[in-house]
Symmetry: C2
């Protein structure tokens, strides 16, 4: 190893790892070493620049807590989270999109037709649609887990100190025998990702904003099907074409229309909506 130079060191480093030949761990490790060593050579990275990278990661680590994962945020604003979502979307299924930092296990079960808004101010929308497989067969008993911001762009979990209940604006619904789901809620507003830390410094250094367009979060599951984690956005709304975390896909944009013919849908609703947003989810079979 005393003979290594800048062109042979990459193989030397790989060889020190006694990984199972051809294993996934080996592939991922070797690929990362190849790409990042090439990067370092191609750009003739200096000591100061490299320490800048390492200290940036250090700072990301120092601001992180169990409630704030700055490395997920970094992955989001650099498009990695979106790229991983795109790569892992199954053919024919609804496209995946960011999980985001506000998901909570064990959101409350709600009845179809109930209202999620807990009387919050804002536009009351009916959100409804069907959950099917890729051959358009309805999936009765599919489960839809949703969470969202309010009409000020805030998640209740962010304002627990102001007395908000972190389980507000969340709910788990079971689709009916036709695979339908329906509930009313408040139309959410855009908000910024946290920009008071190292990732915010990076955004400012590149003259980038921190805004996300308004959206609803979903995890949809059904027995024997691949679960999907995704988001639904709203046509013509602010930041729809420049989401700070690259979550928007054309197929995930829903129309919001005035609630004219809601009665004809035949839903039993707890609250009368001002507007309607329809969106169908498609799940692909496992394996």
């Amino acid at each position: 190893m005393r003979d290594i130079n800048q062109f042979t060191i990459t193989d030397a480093v790989k060889k020190t790892f006694e990984t199972e030949q051809g294993s996934r761990f080996e592939q991922l490790l070797h690929g990362l070493l190849d790409h990042l060593h090439d990067y370092t050579r191609e750009h003739q990275v200096t000591h100061e620049e490299w320490m800048g990278v390492l200290n940036f990661l250090y700072d990301c680590g120092q601001i992180s807590t169990p409630e704030r994962h700055e490395f997920i945020l970094l992955s989001d604003v650099l498009g990695f989270s979106a790229l991983v979502d795109m790569i892992n979307t199954k053919g024919g299924a609804t496209e995946g999109s960011n999980l985001g930092p506000f998901y909570l296990d064990e959101a409350p079960r709600k009845q179809l037709g109930s209202d999620l808004s807990d009387d919050r101010d804002g536009v009351c929308i009916l959100v409804h649609g069907k959950i099917t497989d890729t051959l358009h067969n309805p999936l009765p008993g599919a489960v839809i887990d949703t969470w969202q911001a309010d009409a000020a762009g805030t998640y209740p979990i962010q304002e627990q100190e102001q007395g908000q209940d972190k389980y507000d604006l969340r709910g788990v619904f079971e689709a009916d025998e036709q695979g339908r789901f329906y509930y009313t809620t408040v139309l959410p507003k855009p908000y910024t990702v946290p920009y008071d830390g190292p990732v915010g410094r990076l955004l400012r250094a590149g003259n980038r904003h921190a805004w996300r367009p308004a959206h609803l979060h979903y995890i949809v599951r059904a027995p024997g099907m691949n679960a999907i984690t995704t988001e639904v956005f709203f046509e013509n709304m602010e930041y729809i074409d420049n989401d700070a975390v690259f979550g928007v896909r054309k197929s995930l944009i829903a129309k919001v229309s005035p609630a004219k013919d809601v009665a004809a849908l035949g839903y039993a609703l707890d609250k009368t909506p001002d507007a309607v947003c329809a969106f169908d989810f498609v799940l692909a079979p496992e394996g």
Copy 2:
């Protein structure tokens, strides 16, 4: 941006950064995005694998303190620190090697010929050599800053709680009018890099050890010359050919010989050495 897919997202992310065209920041940022997005695509990285990477970085951040920079350690064991040293070594100059985590500003000034060991047990070695420019001209007044482990492989700074002085086994010497330096000290022993954290988990996952061969650390400076940060290793000693952080270069390995003809060197020494280690440093001019 709603039309992005896994092949167009990389350019879309680059375009959101309004960086100065052709600036170093833009080059480094775009290069990193190109390489790491390619990596993600080539290996079809899954959500679980990507979260594994992000959580590994999170863990590195959580164990880091002002005294422990786990990201530097990660850079070391993956060969990045060595690669950056190699890339930035100036033609004709002594090769660079790891700074390591134990450097201290303001180590005590010592007289040539003094002993660094503070009466520690072990083999007493005379370390001596010349500091020249790349044309072999001596550099009188060059300054050599050294620090090292003891004969148990421990740096005094690691045992401050056991009453050790963190400035022990360190010294700053000024070369004489012939560019010579000379001092006695204790022959250091191999030691392990910290492996009780996430980087240790990575090493174990790849069946790698955490040992470094014994070495002396140096920063050498002279007016008008590029300073070098490097290490000197000892021929035939343990781990010399499998340093956990890839610091060894053939040109940085010195011989350790019995101290037979020390008197002929004409040095005034505070202590009589058992062995001699000779090493010359070469500095390249600035710019």
